[in-house]
Subunit: 330 residues, 2 copies
DNA sequence: TTGTAGGCGTTATCAT
DNA sequence: ATGATAACGCCTACAA
């Protein structure tokens, strides 16, 4: 990969580097450089396939036009789709995106923040892990522009983009009740994350409202031991003879349904449920699965918009976007 | 984001920038700098949370320690998982990864290559789109280190990592035949991609070998119109009274199974199939779905290894890794 | 209208 | 054992 710098072009045309720079960076307002010279330079640049050296540019300008995206799990469709859209909108604004993965581990999150900031990203979009409050607070102290997506911390005042977790969960649970369920189970992560806690709260309050809240039907599963925990949770709930169930995330939903099938629960007739997030798998089943659909594209778009405002307009007021999720019953 | 540079540390400690650099870049072999000074510097660096400026480093060194990964579709689990592992292994070698997406479009691929090379990535891992031969050839001319993954072009001599597409498809089809199928359908992309063509060839040759090849049972679907095309394809195959079916990709498999279910085909008794790639969805079904499993982690690892060899050892011999896929029947 | 020169943060060479 | 300095390629204030 032979390098063509401004200097090379300048020498070939016997003009100064400054002139070339002026022309090629598009800063030649009101004809500071003559048409003739400008044309020569432009042509030569194309001929030699000039590409600016982004190290030099970044060093000089202090900006990289690169954003960091830190997600909890790239191999999860929800985050994959989010990444897709974030990339798309970032590109429209002239930014590239570096994606990094935390696997829901706070130590990895710390590592990835280090990695990305040392690469001088101009800003960060983050789905924070549990117990990562101090990391987020450090970002604020360091004045690193960032936006939280999908998750947030009620104790920290930050930009974020999230769905109306509480309300949609409340409504979804009401729907189960309307459809006749009286003994409803709940499967949630054993984590202290605000977004999933809100989903849980929404569900439980709807149950309490209807006077059918049975604490023994609330089960928690660990991220690190998901398969086993979901399996056991479902077994117990089936033993409790539940007639409806609410899953609070994507990954729990899939495993949950799988285990219901495995336990030979007659889902068509004796069990109603609500899952979180759309999934190909649901379309394969011989019965339809109601689910809560997050407007992922819009979330990505908003996140980019918030972040870029913050970076380019030095906008320091924190903004919080709550976008509405949708209950899909077909 | 206040910046802490070598200079800041040097001034605070009244030593030279050169000394600080030596210590912090870990180049202080055989005690060129005294233990005492070294310790002071190290402590100060932690205290001030020093982070090297990668632009300056890159400018000086001519390397970014960043790789580009160009995939056809980030929201597809196969590529998501591939990205996950590539990132993992790259990190172990001290490289970061920028992920970009082409949506199977050659123009987007060109754009992404431009984007990434202008950001001085040291190398590229690419799942090329159809008709992108010239782009790949240009990478070779430009001496940009790269590795193709999942797909390759038989007409171009490049590094690549792929599975044994022909063989595994041949074997999978034989399995269908062994299990009693005599009228087998095939659903493939209407694309001229070597990897899927090989899968098709493997299947057809197994059918010919057994004297049960019926060309009317080979259907092609378009990426841009996948849902409709798969639906129609399945309808026609069902009309042809097939008793077995082979899907050549991930996305086709999921839609294919979905439509079989929709057409009320009795999969447990009257239809056998082989899908490509593992999928959560398959575990939800009340029957088991045989599928071809690609060793994604190994593919990612090999790709990184090949690429880094090429970058760091200037290794210019092209290497081709064929890794074995596995037919999973449980 | 165009050129000169300084500096961004690092590393590496050469002095001291 | 440590310091001074040039260089990487770009941008920009200022000079000509």
């Amino acid at each position: 990969m032979k390098r063509v710098s401004l200097k090379v072009i300048a020498e070939e045309l016997s003009v100064s580097v400054a002139t070339v720079s002026l022309v090629l960076s598009g800063k030649n307002e009101r004809g500071r450089v003559s048409q003739e010279v400008e044309k020569k330079i432009l042509n030569k640049a194309v001929e030699l396939n000039y590409m600016p050296n982004s190290f030099a540019k970044g060093l000089k300008m202090g900006r990289s036009k690169t954003l960091g995206l830190i997600v909890a799990d790239v191999s999860n469709v929800f985050f994959g789709t989010l990444a897709l859209h974030i990339q798309e909108y970032a590109e429209k604004e002239g930014y590239a995106v570096i994606i990094a993965n935390t696997n829901e581990q706070e130590e990895k999150m710390e590592k990835m923040i280090k990695l990305l900031t040392s690469r001088q990203v101009d800003g960060l979009i983050v789905t924070p892990t549990e117990k990562s409050e101090k990391l987020i607070e450090r970002l604020i102290v360091d004045k690193m522009p960032f936006v939280l997506v999908d998750r947030s911390f009620p104790t920290i005042n930050t930009n974020f983009v999230m769905i109306n977790n509480y309300e949609i969960s409340y409504q979804a649970t009401q729907k189960l009740i309307e459809r006749g369920c009286r003994n409803i189970g709940l499967l949630n992560y054993h984590q202290n994350m605000y977004h999933t806690n809100e989903r849980k709260r929404g569900c439980i309050e709807a149950l309490q409202q209807a006077n059918i809240y049975h604490p023994e039907n609330v089960k928690e599963v660990r991220y690190e031991n998901l398969k086993k925990d979901v399996e056991n949770g479902i077994k117990e709930l089936v033993k409790n003879k539940i007639d409806g169930i609410f899953f609070t995330t994507n990954s729990i939903s899939i495993l949950g349904v799988k285990n219901l099938v495995k336990q030979n629960v007659d889902i068509r007739n004796s069990m109603k449920m609500v899952c979180f997030d759309e999934n190909d798998a649901f379309y394969l089943l011989p019965f339809s699965v109601p689910f809560i659909k997050q407007p992922i594209e819009k979330m990505g778009q908003r996140a980019i918009q918030l972040l870029i405002d913050q970076i380019e307009k030095q906008n320091s007021t924190t903004e919080k976007y709550i976008v509405d999720a949708e209950l899909i019953i077909k």
